[in-house]
Symmetry: C2
Subunit: 437 residues, 2 copies
C-alpha cells in the first residue's frame, strides 16, 4: 500500500461498535484492499474497562478517556457509535475541532444537532459520514445523495423503523396483541427496554428528517411533521384492514406536491400487493420516486449489529479512498438553495380508514354520515359487521362501523372527529388511519 494508513478511534463498543471492530479485525485484508490503504484500529473508547467482552481486543487499544482518543495525533477518523445526544455531541464536535473526520450512525444526534455539527465540519474542512444513520445496511444515503443526484426526488415512502415493523408483522401474521408482539420484540432484541421512540414514530421521523434534508435540501424539525406511532393500534384494525385488502405499516412519507413538502410518519393502510406491504419483520424498505428515474426500491435489514456495521464500514472505506470528503462537500446540507415550503399537517390529504364504536340503533349511521358530509368528506365504502342479536338486556349494544373515505384533508377529518366526539351514540375509541395513495 502506497498511501499512509487510516487510523481510527472507535468511540463506543456496544452492539454496533463490536460488529465494526470484529469485521476490521477478522477481515483486515479485505477492508484494506477495498480501501487502497491500511485501515488501523488505533483507539477503542469504552465506558467500563473492566467489563468482560465477547470480542478480545489488544488491551492497549482500549481506553475510557474519549478526550484522549479524540485528541490523539495518531487518530485520523473518529467513529462515534455511542448513540444518544450526550456525550456523543461533544465527542463529534471535539473530533471535528481537532481536525478529525467523523463517521456516525447516530440519527438522533444528527436530527437534533445536525446544523451545529454540519456547520462545525464545514468550518474545519472536515467530513461527517452517516450512511449508517438511516436504514442500517440499506445504502439509502448514497442513493439519495449520489446515485439519484440527476433527479429531483418527488416522493419518499418508507418503513424506517424495524421494531415497529416487526410488531406489526407479528400482529398481522401471528394475530398477536400489540402488547404480546412488543414483548416478543424485546425478547428477541428487536426492541429496546424502553421502546417509546421506536413505537411512537419519533425514530422514523428522525430518519426521515435526514432523508428529506438530502433529497429536498430542506431541514424540517420533527415538530413540523405529522407524526403518530403504532402504540395506538388494535389487533382489530389490523384484521379489518386485512379484510379490506390492506396491510398497516408505520409509513414515513415525504412528497413534493405543487412545490410544497408533505411530511408524515403514521400507521398507514397500504394495498397488500405493494412491495412495501410485503416487507415483514425487522426489515426496512424505501421507495424513492425521482422525476427522471421513476420509482426505485430498496430493502434490507434496517438495524442490528452487522447490517449497521456494513454501513459504517462503507463510510470508513469511502473516507480512506477520499470519496466521502467529496460527497459531503456536495451534499445539500447548508441550505444553499431556497428550501421548499412545508405543508401544514392539517392540509395533508389522503383517503382514510375510520373505525367507530357506535350504538346499534336507528339514526346513528345517518348522524355519522351527515357530520362527515358537512365537512366535505365522502364515503368510498362502509362496513358494519352484523352483530349478534342480544336478548335479555336493555343495554344498547355497541358495534363497530368501518368507513373508508375518499380523499380528504387531515384538517377536515379532525373537525369532523370533534363533532363525532360530541355525539352520545359514538363511543371511544375512534380510530382514524391514513390510506397510502
Amino acid at each position: 500500500m502506497s498511501t499512509a494508513p487510516l487510523r481510527l478511534a472507535l468511540v463506543g463498543l456496544g452492539n454496533v461498535g463490536t460488529g465494526v471492530a470484529q469485521v476490521l479485525m477478522h477481515q483486515t485484508d479485505r477492508i484494506c484492499h477495498r480501501s487502497g490503504r491500511t485501515i488501523q484500529l488505533q483507539r477503542v473508547v469504552v465506558r467500563d474497562l473492566a467489563k468482560p467482552r465477547e470480542l478480545s481486543l489488544p488491551r492497549e487499544l482500549l481506553t475510557d478517556d474519549w478526550q484522549a482518543a479524540v485528541h490523539d495525533p495518531n487518530v485520523d477518523v473518529v467513529v462515534e457509535l455511542m448513540g444518544g445526544i450526550h456525550p456523543a455531541r461533544e465527542v463529534v464536535l471535539a473530533a471535528l475541532a481537532a481536525g478529525k473526520d467523523v463517521v456516525t450512525a447516530n440519527k438522533a444526534l444528527l436530527c437534533q444537532c445536525g446544523d451545529e455539527i454540519f456547520a462545525a465540519a464545514r468550518q474545519s474542512g472536515r467530513t461527517v459520514a452517516f450512511e449508517a444513520a438511516v436504514a442500517g445496511g440499506v445504502p439509502i444515503i448514497a442513493a439519495v445523495g449520489q446515485s439519484l443526484a440527476g433527479n429531483q426526488i418527488q416522493t419518499i415512502q418508507a418503513i424506517l423503523n424495524g421494531t415497529s415493523n416487526y410488531i406489526l408483522s407479528q400482529m398481522l401474521l401471528e394475530h398477536q396483541s400489540y402488547g404480546d408482539a412488543l414483548g416478543q420484540a424485546q425478547q428477541l432484541g428487536f426492541a429496546e427496554a424502553d421502546p417509546t421512540l421506536d413505537v411512537d414514530g419519533t425514530d422514523a421521523a428522525q430518519k426521515l428528517t435526514l432523508l428529506v434534508q438530502l433529497a429536498f435540501g430542506t431541514r424540517v424539525p420533527v415538530s413540523q411533521f405529522h407524526v403518530s406511532g403504532i402504540d395506538c393500534l388494535d389487533q382489530k384494525d389490523i384484521q379489518y384492514a386485512s379484510s379490506l385488502g390492506y396491510t398497516i405499516k408505520l409509513l414515513a412519507q415525504a412528497k413534493l406536491v405543487q412545490q410544497r413538502l408533505e411530511l408524515s410518519v403514521r400507521p398507514t393502510l397500504v394495498r397488500q400487493d405493494r412491495p412495501i406491504a410485503q416487507t415483514h419483520g425487522p426489515f426496512n424498505a424505501i421507495l424513492l420516486e425521482g422525476d427522471v428515474v421513476g420509482p426505485v426500491w430498496f430493502s434490507g435489514r434496517g438495524a442490528g449489529q452487522l447490517p449497521t456495521a456494513s454501513a459504517v464500514l462503507a463510510d470508513i472505506i469511502d473516507l480512506a479512498i477520499g470519496r466521502s470528503q467529496l460527497t459531503f462537500r456536495q451534499f445539500d446540507l447548508w441550505g444553499a438553495r431556497p428550501a421548499f415550503e412545508v405543508a401544514p399537517p392539517s392540509e395533508l390529504t389522503s383517503r382514510f380508514y375510520l373505525r367507530l364504536s357506535v350504538e346499534d340503533r336507528p339514526h346513528v349511521m345517518a348522524d355519522v354520515t351527515h357530520i362527515l358530509g358537512r365537512h366535505g368528506i365522502s364515503l368510498a365504502s362502509v362496513i358494519q359487521p352484523e352483530s349478534p342479536e342480544v336478548s335479555g338486556s336493555d343495554a344498547v349494544p355497541i358495534v363497530p362501523l368501518i368507513i373508508m373515505t375518499h380523499r380528504t384533508s387531515v384538517g377536515a377529518l379532525q373537525a369532523a372527529d370533534a363533532e363525532l366526539e360530541a355525539l352520545a351514540s359514538i363511543k371511544t375509541p375512534r380510530v382514524c388511519l391514513a390510506v397510502a395513495g
Copy 2:
C-alpha cells in the same frame, strides 16, 4: 461556481442520448448545483445530421464526425451512448487515448472488450464510468462497488432483462402465449425488432458478467455461464409452475459456494412469496447477499430512456465531483486478487421442475422414476393431471407428467435426460427448469 466547467461530448442521440440531453438542457441548474460546477454540452455526435429530432439542440453542437468530437480539446468527457461494439469500441479507446474520461451504458461492449478498455483507461490514467450498463436506473454498480464494499458478496440473484420479464409477466398475468407477449413487448417498445439477445439470456448474462467482476474480482466469459433463455417457454409451464406456488423468472445468479462461483442465467421457478417473483413488467430486481449486511434488495426500471439517463447523469455528476475517478481506481477490475474458481455448469445444483410428455399406459411412470433414481435424483412431488378418457381411438393418449425433484446437479439431470430421450414412451418436448433455492 469556482471550478472549470465539465465539457461533454455525447456520442449517440438515440433513445437514451436524447434523454440525457433533455435533462442536461432542461434541468441545467439542478445538474450544475449537484455537480458543484458547470456541466456543458460541447458536442453531440449523430449518424445523420439531416434526421428530424424531437429535441431541438443548437445546430452548432451537432456533428456526424465522432473523431473530431473525441479529439476536440474542449471536451473533457465522452459519453458513449451508441450501443453495439463497432464503432463504440473505437470511440471509447480513442477517447481514453486522447485523455478523456468515458461514461458508457454499453454492457455488450464492456462484456466483450472490458479487459482492453479497462486496461487502456488504467494506462492513460482515465476513468470509465458505467452505472447505466446494468439495471438502468437502479444504482447497482454503486451498491456493489461502494456501498457494500465492507462485504464479501455471497449471492447475486437478479432479474436483469426487462424485456424477458415483461413477456413472462404477460404470459402469467394475461395468459398470453410467448409469441403474443413478445409481439406486444415490441409494440410497446420494451423489445427490439430483433429481440434475440434479450430473450435468449445473452443480455442478462452480459450484465451479470459485470456484476460478478465487481463483486468477486473475477472476470468470467459468458461462455462459462450456464445460460438459457425464455424463448423455450410454453404457457403450460407458466401455469403448472403457478399451480405449484411458483413464478417463472429469467434469473441471473452468482453464488459463492465453498469458494467456487456458481453462475447461471436461466428461466427459474421462484416461490411466489419472494419479492423477486413479484417483480412484474419491464422492471429489474437484484437481491445481493453480503456476509456482513445480509440480504439487500434493489428494484426499479432496468431500461428505457429516462431511467437509463438517470444513471448516465449520476456518472456525469460523479465525474464532475471527482468521485468516479477514485471509485474506478479502486474497483476490482484488474484481477489484482486471486480470482475465484468457476464451477463447471454441470456441477450446479438445485431442485428442478420437469415436464415430460408421456404415453398414458402402464410402466411409463416406473420407467421414468427408475431412470431418475439411477442418477441419484429423488422426487419431491409428482403430478400427472387426470386426462379425459379417450374412446373410439386406438392411439395411446399423450399426457403431461410434472415432476419436482429434490436437489440434484445439472449433470445428473442431463445424463438422466439422455436416457429419457431414448424411451419410446417419452415424447418431446421434455422441459427442465431450475427451482430457486
